[in-house]
Subunit: 243 residues, 6 copies
Amino acid sequence: MPSLNSATRDKLKAVSTATLCTALFKRGLRNQFIQDVHPVNTQRDPKAPNMVGEAFTLRYIPAREDLNPITVFQDRAHPQRKAVESCPPGAVFVIDSRKNARAASAGSILVTRLMKRGVAGIVTDGGFRDSPEIAQLPFPAYHQRPSAPTNLTLHQALDIDVPIGCGDVAVWPGDVVVGDGEGVVVVPARIADEIADEALEMTAFEDFVTERVQAGQSILGLYPATDERNREAFAAWRRANGR
Amino acid sequence: MPSLNSATRDKLKAVSTATLCTALFKRGLRNQFIQDVHPVNTQRDPKAPNMVGEAFTLRYIPAREDLNPITVFQDRAHPQRKAVESCPPGAVFVIDSRKNARAASAGSILVTRLMKRGVAGIVTDGGFRDSPEIAQLPFPAYHQRPSAPTNLTLHQALDIDVPIGCGDVAVWPGDVVVGDGEGVVVVPARIADEIADEALEMTAFEDFVTERVQAGQSILGLYPATDERNREAFAAWRRANGR
Amino acid sequence: MPSLNSATRDKLKAVSTATLCTALFKRGLRNQFIQDVHPVNTQRDPKAPNMVGEAFTLRYIPAREDLNPITVFQDRAHPQRKAVESCPPGAVFVIDSRKNARAASAGSILVTRLMKRGVAGIVTDGGFRDSPEIAQLPFPAYHQRPSAPTNLTLHQALDIDVPIGCGDVAVWPGDVVVGDGEGVVVVPARIADEIADEALEMTAFEDFVTERVQAGQSILGLYPATDERNREAFAAWRRANGR
Amino acid sequence: MPSLNSATRDKLKAVSTATLCTALFKRGLRNQFIQDVHPVNTQRDPKAPNMVGEAFTLRYIPAREDLNPITVFQDRAHPQRKAVESCPPGAVFVIDSRKNARAASAGSILVTRLMKRGVAGIVTDGGFRDSPEIAQLPFPAYHQRPSAPTNLTLHQALDIDVPIGCGDVAVWPGDVVVGDGEGVVVVPARIADEIADEALEMTAFEDFVTERVQAGQSILGLYPATDERNREAFAAWRRANGR
Amino acid sequence: MPSLNSATRDKLKAVSTATLCTALFKRGLRNQFIQDVHPVNTQRDPKAPNMVGEAFTLRYIPAREDLNPITVFQDRAHPQRKAVESCPPGAVFVIDSRKNARAASAGSILVTRLMKRGVAGIVTDGGFRDSPEIAQLPFPAYHQRPSAPTNLTLHQALDIDVPIGCGDVAVWPGDVVVGDGEGVVVVPARIADEIADEALEMTAFEDFVTERVQAGQSILGLYPATDERNREAFAAWRRANGR
Amino acid sequence: MPSLNSATRDKLKAVSTATLCTALFKRGLRNQFIQDVHPVNTQRDPKAPNMVGEAFTLRYIPAREDLNPITVFQDRAHPQRKAVESCPPGAVFVIDSRKNARAASAGSILVTRLMKRGVAGIVTDGGFRDSPEIAQLPFPAYHQRPSAPTNLTLHQALDIDVPIGCGDVAVWPGDVVVGDGEGVVVVPARIADEIADEALEMTAFEDFVTERVQAGQSILGLYPATDERNREAFAAWRRANGR
């Protein structure tokens, strides 16, 4: 797995998932935004930095009743518990719940443990239980919707750190996962650095455009900057703003 | 209908729907959490006590146009209006809207009336109209999503206090309905007392575990407490905290 | 297109979408509430006036990859960009996204431009990107859910100001679009004045009823006012409150 | 319940559900076709007469595990079994399965018993088990899709012959239920006779139009017959064909 | 619109929609198969030639009740009726029904008229009424599922021969529409000739491979023919079979 | 993996998936029927023996565009192709397609190869391409619906013979998969023998009951046989019929 360097991590903290999706789209990657997954904390501060980290995955399959009594958690090697204790600090914990939020993917105790272990955040395409508590934690968590039933009701934890699907997106271990107030995007590990660079450039331009539009300028010729004067104005703006 | 005693009611106000779901799961009841139903007030105080009460039900079927002109409400015996005036104080009013939120299940005037009558809360697997007003009321209300069209558009109120389905859960009159910030769970009347007791015990343990995890302890051997030292620590914690 | 007069506009700013749906229902129009579309700003002030304006529409069809490279936006005549610059001030910009929120309908720069141009609001039955920024703008915006991927991923902008479907509702250019904290309703242009009048009357009555219900009165005979004494009390209330 | 007379029954055997839907639409009834319900026998003879009978209903709610062990069927009063033995000959047995086909509504033995008792047909908005056997029976059966799990898995039989919803349609006991190769329509009891008459007239006209179109005539002025000559031709056709 | 030449038409009659999808995929077109649309005739002869023709489109929006009484069909210029009479012989009539099969897109009389006029086939992403009759016609028709209610219930016919969406696919007038027993694919007009050529070549190879696999050969090295001996065997097979 | 003995295989060929579901239900296994999966051959002979075999699985995740060009199949180790060549004769090939039928899970050439290799059948919770050809093969194949696009469009083949989900059911390698005209059920390997025995007994009883019901007997006391005389009659029937 190519390691996520700290410069790239910092850049990815400061760009939006929307901008990242466009940078990926330009490279033919049209399907990297995790569908129908939202911050658990619906009052999230819009100025908060993004969740950024390499994907560490957990795969669920449907639960069969005889294999999933409440006693399975007495096994320290149970994959859900083992995954929580082995996810590397700085990584994002991503769960393939087959888009099924009718039972929980995890609850506040496990999420708190991940937070304390220095994990960067957690994502499921199912739902979390104890979601009001999770929403209060200073820790990024993303799911489809709250779900109180224990995961054993419908989910059997199986594999740790294998390629999975999450919200219709392929997640390969080590891919860089970025979350903001809008949702979560998966950046393939191989291109994370160049995508971060490009997205940072795009963000500068978008901030410039936003300023101009707020000042009353038309988007025609400005966004994109097909008009030469707007390209000059942007160059001046960059100098003036040190970006 | 076994009557809900006040001790059980108080216990159920202080435990989470997630904990209740696990207690029910242990008894083979895997399907008691009402699916895809959420607090109308999305800024609900996470410290607020739960909604707790015995289920009082209203059943809707699809509306046929000729039977549902606006004038039907002139009939004082119309089941929706009659149900609102006859729901016992302390009960939870639960509507079977067939999971259809394309028209409203009820609006703010009826919900206000229920509140004034001392009803404990209201739940529908459809949607409420006047939802911004309902969100402001000091009264628990749960639905799928806001829906402005009058209920006559798609719903015919039919039966009062019969067994119904709500969000894929069986709701029998007198079942104990509990709602928190996560959603709503239905506890069969017959086992409400024992479930309340067990959930209170579980909550003490979960609070203990949360403290330890916040303090940096691993979940292995702690959650569940397969390690003897953790069981001893929990016993000490209970004594120290009077729980 | 019948022009929306300012008296009607003011009335429509002060009534709820729920009340409008009932007034439309009385005229046999049962399907004017845009389904599953919500304010982008989930912390919207419930006292804020409604979004009101005549519909100005944009139609999307599915995007074909070869017709939708990122370079299409260099064309000043691209329908999405052209629509943003030609939507009349005071109108509501309504997008037919075929209920598909897997890619964005538009982002914050275009929405900001609409705001600066004096447009009254924007509605899509898909999703917006940059939704956290849009939520902060003093501008009404309604969508299904946030969606970061660029619209080119799935949407081809095609037609400007033609009749469309939005959230299963027919939207004809010039129809009056009203949005509150609950959602968005479409009032046919031809009957906008009479609907506004009737809804204002209904709102007075509902406010009266709400007061009485808050004061402890039963809804029977009051809502609707089949009891003569309630009709008299309402008349007195109107005089006392100047409504 | 107004009794279905044999003349009306015979007429309804000979007209299509499509024609009936149009006759109902003319009276403002837009929602009488049971959605997403199909003949179990996918090789049904298109010339077979329609299923026609008065609705006899069975209502299911979600099954709770402790109330639905396999042993419940030892009770002769179990509503599913009792309903099968009490449905009147000539009636159509209609089940409200909440559109849930993940477990069966009934199986071939019960369906065979209904057939032998002279019942006119069976409809569920869920699925049947033993569907290959049911498809072979000379008995009309309609469902959403095959479903092998026993009904106890998800369905609790509750009420017999009450108003229900089936495939989003209101079904009142005694309504006239008509099924052809396309699906099932519910005709309110009160207007069954006049709808049957009108549909028979419409069918004669449609047969005439089909003949003309097969002979190469344009539909303009013919369907509907706004052209006087086509009305004359139809009158002549009726005389010639004795209809 | 580039005209579909008869050589290309003949080639497209003899290749499968699956093969065409692969040829389109190689050119970056991943989304040309109309989703969830099936032959009305479920007993279609698998040896029947494909439906092939240029797209002629009809666009529906949601119906508003006051604009869609049954009397609208008395207008000869009603877009649905006008479209049926103006669709060119040899074209495929494609309807954008917004994937809504709860009311019909058209019925047997209009479909028969299209057949008599020499149209090549009809496709909707909604449903047809009179589907048992349509299934008996010697005319290709594709839909989602049968639907008896008149189109006026939910669909307002609006535009003729404009770009539309159908089953999540962009359909531009003049695109070449091909249907077999599996479903319907849309080939952009500009590349129809080259796609037809390539698909014919691919079909020869697939037929060769099928013969070899039926004779017991492994697919490794054969499909695709990475093994030189298989390429030679294919060359020999082509000579022997004149393909 | 416990090996499936031939006696059990033979028994399972002769009982229905409905009967198996009931036997599993009695053991607390409520979720073993693969949801929304149907025989590709819709004209399947209802007398044909069941598909029976041990599960051999293939896991798909969402396809990322850069990892899934058409050239990947040139790799003999591509998991889809390798799986087809390594599935044991007598096994059932089960694919986890995440219930996504928008692109194919496999096509006729691979299915033919499996057939020639002696595999017992194939199941996907997505769709097959070349489905008309597959329907003609003397080989059991089950899917959700036909789907022409190549699997590379949406599916990345990843793992061979690992536990998967298929149609919301857990499938562990070696589980016994049984398919009839209704659909597919998964019997856990450990209990396959006893389930087969019990289902065979149940089938004898159901055949007896069906005969009696066809002869006009009521189901009360017969199904289940709570009436002693019916138990005696069944015993006599068994002797007479050698079962």
